[in-house]
């Protein structure tokens, strides 16, 4: 029996896909939503005959406005992530045959997400925009699972029915945290697309934070000898703290007492855009961190 570690290539490609998805596709998508330019061009995927792979952003902005160029860049970022996921499938086929199904699933989810984006644009519906936003979360979870499982140091999943009650309870709370985060992101997307009330997002954000921190607490108390798990728990704790702070600032400038603090409309728009987009991106990072913790809770030790 060979004792050599599996190839690291797939892990690196999966990591690149994750980083590009969060920073480029979700980040630019967040700016598109914050500036409300998602419908800057109601055709898909091309803009008035200009190919999706047109990289002349200056002329695009001159002809159709900077908002159109922004939306175009978001679509291109989505295409790039799609290409990266194809590379993952090819690398898995050569070096990690055990992960071909998972890489194929990631690719399929990214394609579905692109099609959801098309429905959002062509249908011009708030519901379509919310579904597209939720699709992004599903894609992120799938890529995180791929990143974890393709890591050569991944030791596999433990018994699905653990005898240790501490482990069972950690699994329960960490998984519940991911589910609640998903529901909270649904509330956030509904709020962003003017289909949901702020109070719903607030209650679900606090609930999800409490549940995630319960998981963190259990991990740090009961698994002091599991360094990967502790690392994952700390990352969740830090991200929850940052996200709550950023959420408070976003609320203050978008709906709360600081809304009229900046009298210059342009500065206000810029601050609101940056805060809302940062809050969205950090929300996705938190989803990735929470998924990581839930996976670590299931790792064979």
């Amino acid at each position: 029996m060979s004792t050599s570690l599996p190839s690291v290539a797939l892990h690196r490609w999966a990591l690149a896909t994750l980083i590009m998805t969060v920073l480029l596709t979700v980040g630019i998508g967040g700016v598109v939503t914050s500036t409300e330019t998602g419908m800057a061009y109601p055709t898909w995927p091309n803009i008035n005959g200009q190919s999706l792979f047109n990289f002349f952003y200056g002329s695009l902005a001159q002809d159709y406005g900077a908002g159109s160029a922004l939306e175009h860049t978001h679509r291109q970022a989505g295409a790039l992530v799609g290409l990266l996921s194809i590379v993952c499938v090819l690398v898995a086929a050569r070096k990690r045959k055990d992960l071909v199904k998972l890489t194929s699933l990631v690719l399929a989810l990214i394609i579905v997400q692109g099609v959801l984006g098309a429905f959002r644009v062509l249908g011009n519906t708030q519901g379509g925009a919310i579904i597209h936003a939720m699709g992004a979360q599903v894609v992120i979870v799938a890529i995180v699972v791929l990143v974890k499982r393709s890591n050569p140091s991944w030791t596999g999943f433990a018994d699905p029915r653990p005898s240790d009650s501490a482990e069972a309870r950690l699994r329960l709370w960490s998984t519940l945290g991911v589910v609640l985060l998903f529901l909270n992101l649904l509330a956030a997307a509904s709020l962003r697309h003017k289909a949901g009330a702020f109070s719903g997002h607030l209650v679900l954000a606090l609930t999800a934070s409490a549940v995630l921190l319960t998981g963190v607490f259990r991990a740090m108390r009961d698994f002091r000898d599991a360094p990967q798990l502790l690392k994952a728990a700390k990352m969740v704790a830090h991200t929850v703290g940052l996200q709550l702070g950023l959420g408070l600032a976003t609320w203050a400038f978008l709906f709360g007492p600081l809304m009229t603090e900046l009298s210059d409309e342009r500065s206000r728009f810029l601050v609101q855009t940056l805060l809302a987009t940062g809050h969205l991106v950090l929300g996705v990072v938190l989803m990735a961190a929470a998924t990581n913790l839930a996976l670590e809770a299931r790792r064979a030790r």
């Binding site: 330019t37 008035n48 005959g49 406005g65 908002g67 159109s68 009330a197 609930t207 709906f255 409309e265």
Partner: protein, 367 residues
């Protein structure tokens, strides 16, 4: 899985909080409150004293209410009558539902829908002075001049309500103005009720503002005198705007294109490049919208509309007819032009048969 006793309480609390959060989420929508100045950017740019601006706001709000609480003079109810085709069951049903509501209810519902669907581009006051509008081209319509671009009436005349309904349902091709056909038909009517309100209020405000700006400086005038001037100008402007909307139907284009033939397309081709029509000057010989008069590789778009925004002539090779691509719609755009832009109407320059030939030629360019 058997639950640990201490987890049961936590799970019950989590379940209750989740239920509460989801219930609150679906209980309503949060739209950022409307804020900013009460006057349009156009009026604010005029040389009016602070007192005049305050009195103007008070007068406008007395007649039309604040933007968030719209109202109209009683005598303007008839301007909101639609010409429904009652032989169509869907339209007959819609007519019954709309007529059961009073105008105040329609405007309030329309304002809500406007805030959700339109405000981020067209702005609270309908003057398109929003950050989103500034990064779109063509820029979203500024309603403060009181007319729209794609309509059945010539020049700066008020549009028909049917024009507003058509644009909302179809959108405007090759622009950020998407179709809102997904909205409930009654919501679309109410939304257009509010857009019409913004157009009429905007027109009154712009006319009053211009009239006041044309008067000698009001620095030394007493408040009562300024108030009298505003009331007088407002009355004149309101009457004129109401008359514009009442007369719109009589100004609507009646002519329609003839049938398309190969010969008609050939005649249209010859006319397109001729000095008489001069279409190629702006739209280019190839119809791609980059004629010498409209586009310069160094300077970009050369033409401006009355709102001061760059004008990108339609690209016929892609079939980007902003005013609609059907023969009737293209004919209308050529005959009446596009209000507020350098695209003049040709109904007094060309014969109806020539406009018809051009219509068929332009439509053939994208096939």
């Amino acid at each position: 899985m058997k639950l640990h006793p201490r987890d049961r309480g936590g799970l019950a609390a989590t379940g209750a909080a989740t239920f509460l959060g989801l219930a609150l989420m679906v209980s309503g929508s949060s739209v950022a409150p409307a804020d900013g100045p009460a006057l349009s950017a156009r009026t604010r740019a005029l040389d009016l004293s602070e007192m005049t601006q305050e009195l103007l706001v008070a007068t406008l709000e007395h007649e039309f209410g604040p933007h968030a609480e719209p109202k109209l003079p009683e005598s303007w109810q008839d301007l909101y009558a639609d010409d429904w085709d009652r032989s169509d069951p869907a339209q007959a049903q819609l007519a019954v539902e709309i007529e059961a509501l009073n105008l105040a209810e329609r405007l309030t519902a329309g304002r809500r829908s406007y805030a959700e669907n339109c405000q981020h581009c067209h702005g609270v006051r309908g003057d398109a002075e929003t950050q989103t509008a500034k990064i779109l081209l063509p820029r979203p319509r500024d309603f403060s001049l009181g007319f729209t671009k794609f309509k059945s009436t010539p020049g700066n005349a008020a549009p028909l309500r049917a024009d507003l309904h058509r644009v909302l349902e179809q959108g405007i091709a090759s622009t950020a103005m998407a179709s809102f056909a997904q909205l409930d038909p009654i919501e679309r009517v109410q939304l257009n009720d509010y857009v019409q309100y913004l157009l009429m209020r905007g027109a009154v405000e712009t006319r009053v503002g211009s009239a006041l700006a044309a008067l000698p400086s009001d620095e030394s005038a007493a408040e009562t005198e300024v108030e009298f001037r505003i009331l007088q100008a407002s009355q004149v402007a309101s009457d004129a705007v109401a008359a514009d909307w009442r007369n719109a139907g009589s100004l609507a284009l009646k002519a329609a294109p003839e049938s398309e033939t190969v010969e008609a397309i050939a005649r249209g081709n010859a006319l397109y490049s001729s000095a008489r029509a001069g279409c190629s000057l702006c739209h280019g010989e190839d119809g791609k919208g980059r004629g010498l008069g409209a586009w310069d590789p160094e300077l970009g778009w050369l033409l401006r509309d009355v709102w001061g925004n760059p004008v990108r002539p339609a690209d016929f090779s892609y079939g980007s007819f902003h005013g609609g691509a059907s023969p009737e719609e293209v004919y209308r755009s050529i005959a009446l032009g596009v209000a507020g832009t350098p695209m003049a109407g040709y109904q007094n320059t060309l014969q109806p048969s020539e406009i018809s030939d051009l219509t068929h030629y332009l439509r053939s360019l994208s096939r």
